[in-house]
Symmetry: D2
Subunit: 321 residues, 4 copies
């Protein structure tokens, strides 16, 4: 059975026909319109352009937002106010017709499912994907199923509180993992280190013109690669916290693998090596148990498309968990 996977991102909508091996055909890309109705039309248009190429029976949509347990409604999307209790699957089924069914999945979950089925997590039964971007996203697979939780909010691992009274989080809490294991944490760590040791941070400080508000993650990466000790210190500290976060998640879920994705993780070992070391230090009973693999994500930007398409595959069997 073939399905269409569509990833509605902040800047572009991408989609294509996916087979059962995770291959994409007929890949389409359009800029994301600002309006909800225009987004629907763009999705329908991708469907129309693909429908001659395969027998599409269902569409899986990856969307940035909280998705209700029915997997059809967007409860809330920070970047698109119109998507408040919005019946996205209904709207697209109406436009598309042909009896094609639609399901909607949170983008982190769709990407995590893509990695589990076709990427770095393939072959595991219990996996956690951690997306290290501006914030920290998560997707959890347990017993070969995606974990949505009772109310659709599972996997918000960026809001585990790791430091009581710690750095203020945008969510209103203090000390969330998102403030310690994310790209914005990397910037904060780098700036703090540069503030304390400016003579060991020349690449970094010149790149951001000595202005905190201009400092962005890629500058830290470049400075680290050029040998700035403080930029390396920032990656080590980020890895330390990522390792602690994984150790906490292992205490709860004991997965066979962690898959680390997101833009910051593209540096590979510079982040994952200290993360692995810290994980071993902070894992309870570390000496007496099997350790999970800690892997780089593999499916990259297409994980959302192939994950959403795959989740739509068994749509006839789908029930509200």
């Amino acid at each position: 059975m073939e399905t269409l996977g569509i990833d509605i991102g902040g800047t572009k909508i991408a989609g294509g026909i996916c087979d059962e091996k995770g291959n994409i055909r007929c890949l389409q890309r359009v800029p994301t319109p600002e309006d909800a109705a225009d987004i629907n039309a763009a999705v329908a248009d991708i469907y129309r352009r693909c429908k001659g190429e395969g027998d599409i029976r269902a569409i899986g949509i990856s969307a940035a937002g909280n998705i209700a347990s029915d997997r059809r409604t967007v409860s809330f999307a920070a970047n698109l106010p119109a998507w408040h209790q919005y019946p996205l699957a209904d709207a697209i089924e109406d436009l598309v017709g042909d009896g094609v069914k639609v399901i909607v999945e949170n983008d982190a979950n769709a990407a995590g499912w893509g990695e589990y089925r076709f990427g770095a997590g393939r072959g595991t039964h219990n996996m956690v994907m951690i997306t290290v971007g501006t914030g920290v996203g998560g997707a959890i697979i347990v017993n070969d199923r995606l974990v949505r939780g009772g109310f659709g909010m599972a996997g918000e691992i960026g809001h585990i509180v790791m430091v009581p009274d710690g750095e203020a989080c945008g969510c209103g809490l203090f000390g969330c993992a998102e403030q310690y294991a994310s790209g914005s944490a990397l910037e904060r760590f780098a700036w703090s280190a540069a503030r304390r040791q400016p003579n060991q941070s020349e690449h970094l400080l010149e790149a951001c013109e000595y202005d905190r508000s201009k400092l962005i993650g890629p500058m830290v990466r470049d400075a680290a690669q050029q040998g700035d000790p403080t930029a390396n210190e920032a990656f080590n500290l980020l890895g330390e916290w990522l390792g602690r976060l994984m150790a906490n998640l292992s205490a709860v879920l004991d997965p066979e693998a962690f898959v680390i994705g997101g833009g910051v993780a593209e540096v590979g070992g510079m982040l994952l090596d200290p993360a692995r070391a810290a994980f071993s230090r902070y894992l309870q009973a570390s000496m007496y148990r099997q350790h999970p693999s800690i892997l780089e994500a593999r499916a990259g930007g297409k994980a959302g498309i192939i994950g959403a398409a795959d989740l739509a595959r068994d749509i006839d069997l789908a029930r509200v968990d």
Copy 2:
């Protein structure tokens, strides 16, 4: 189909025939022998005494220890050194004969499953049981299945690190949840409060004869009920941390219900009221989401028996997750 549920505890072994509604017949209790072979014999003896009363096709055993993914082998049991990589299911199947199958489950998991199927968690699909005893135990149900993790260690929620550099834990880490949301935390909180305000702690200090090493949880409970302000402060602080722990678990799992069991939780509202209040304060996006129920455990001391028996029911379908 009827099965036998047996709970091998530190002081006694209890078991009986369980039907599909969680009722126990033919309940047997014997003191726990010290020797592994004698334990096996005691289990076989309970089987023999029950076998005339029903058509027992499988035995589910609840045991304190780490259970391997095969659900047949005890990897490690802190209180019974002989149970090191011990093939408990094999040993009992050999003794019992009759083609009866045996599965073994960790005691916290068995009790959690009992609460999920027949107790406070009945009707949920995603549930977390937290056992507040000397330590903190956990059992996790996701999508109607028990979560064992990739290597059988899931649910060790007492070792989420909640306070970096915090109170030393017996496991070698610092700041584990077990040091903040357990009965031993209650004792520590009570002693500290009494140390600071002895004139508000007379009941408590007299009960323990002004000796830290004699202070035990029930004394704190009694002093709180008699009106010692510091004993109440200790329960409030314990509830605060229990609430924070649940908020962290909701970030990961978003369950429909938390079921709180264990000896310390028997005080009910004295612990659960502050825990509920703290949970709401520390839950991310608290105003914008459905909250789980926070419930007292109901099945009590029999949760392990009925849980283990129920897990044995679908043994023919069982596979290594």
Copy 3:
């Protein structure tokens, strides 16, 4: 002996003749020029306007910056780059002539000395002043003398680390007292609380137009006075941390009084009541020792003038500590 006290602030320079009782005559105020030489000229001008009114033998200057141990040189001033290793006392003595001697003191120290000699701390021998403004400043009096430390940097109490891995501080460290007991902490606490409970923060959120970057301390004060629960929560939390900071300082210095000044402290009991309560909870051996007084500053904006003038009084006796 009469002296001239001059307070060089960020927006205005103020000064006048001070007698031995802390009274000011001939008070002058001018806007602060941007240039170092113009500042010197403005100070000399104040001297000339006052000199007919009294027998001025010395000038004490309060300046925002790090002052060297010689009490004549500004090592560094964040807001005036030209004051880098700047011989301020020399420059002004040259301009003023008449054999008048000049000493320079850090502004927090000058104000603290003013409170100690003529304000809330009068009659004590050991006192700590805490200035709760945008940041946290301190001045320490021990054995009736101002504490400058070995290198002139004593009293930087805003940089005691109170929360390891806590909120990033502008100084490059994490978790400094300045991030927990200051006006900017108040804003952060208020925003976080409002983010979590927007329906209890209407006054505050309307005042800042739902925009974090527009939220300032006075809005929190007004909202608290109008009954916003979250604004009150923010003051309680600020008081909690101020109390903890004082408890830490009592462990080191055991002063007879804390004097709390700065713009945020003008709310009085709304801050000081929770601070006093927290102080008692966090003071070691609280039940067994005498507690210091925790007092509102009294000399207000003139503390710097009268403090600097008084420090100049015994200039002939002055030596480098």
Copy 4:
């Protein structure tokens, strides 16, 4: 002017005649009696044995306990209940006669004064002594005078809270410096590390017979010297916290020197090297200021005698601070 210095310790009383250069003549040692009156008699006996050897005009006593501001009364002594509001100076002046004056000083303060006057701190004007023993003691010199505080409790630096909600302290607070920078912290760190990595801790675990309650500081020292990685890790961690404590104290006092004494500090560089490194990392504005010296104590076990004797020297000038 010669004075007698006497150090009343838990196991022995030691004393002798001290000259103005810190030399001791006629050194006497006796076991410490259990009874207050017998202690007084033992002190008087030392006086009598020494009096022929010099012109003793005053006696300075170093005593473990809280000393009132009059420097004559023991307010409280943990190890000698009879010393509760006990007029020790009166009692000894009565026994000794000859018009000899007595002053009493807290033992940490006396030792700190000894180091300041004749030991490692000689030549400084602002010094902090930190005694790293079972607990953490402190003595503070500011502007060439001992800091007793308003009520005699200054210098209790072991009770600065360094980790909110951290390790429970015997005082009833949580997270005191005493729990992180002391010999008992060393034991805890070593045990935790050994618990996590037993195969790297053979020397240590064998020395304590795998029993936490038998593990003492000297075993950690020996294991570290024999190359146990976890014992070294424990010293590094202890040094890290000692460095953080000194950085906090520099924020308040900015001393010219820290003098580190106590039994644990006798290992020298094994503790002081990581402490110095951490101090530099945690010192605010580390790059822009002069750093204090961090020195090993030099006067050793005699610091209390020569310090107390020296404090008695200017007794005629003494006043209640």
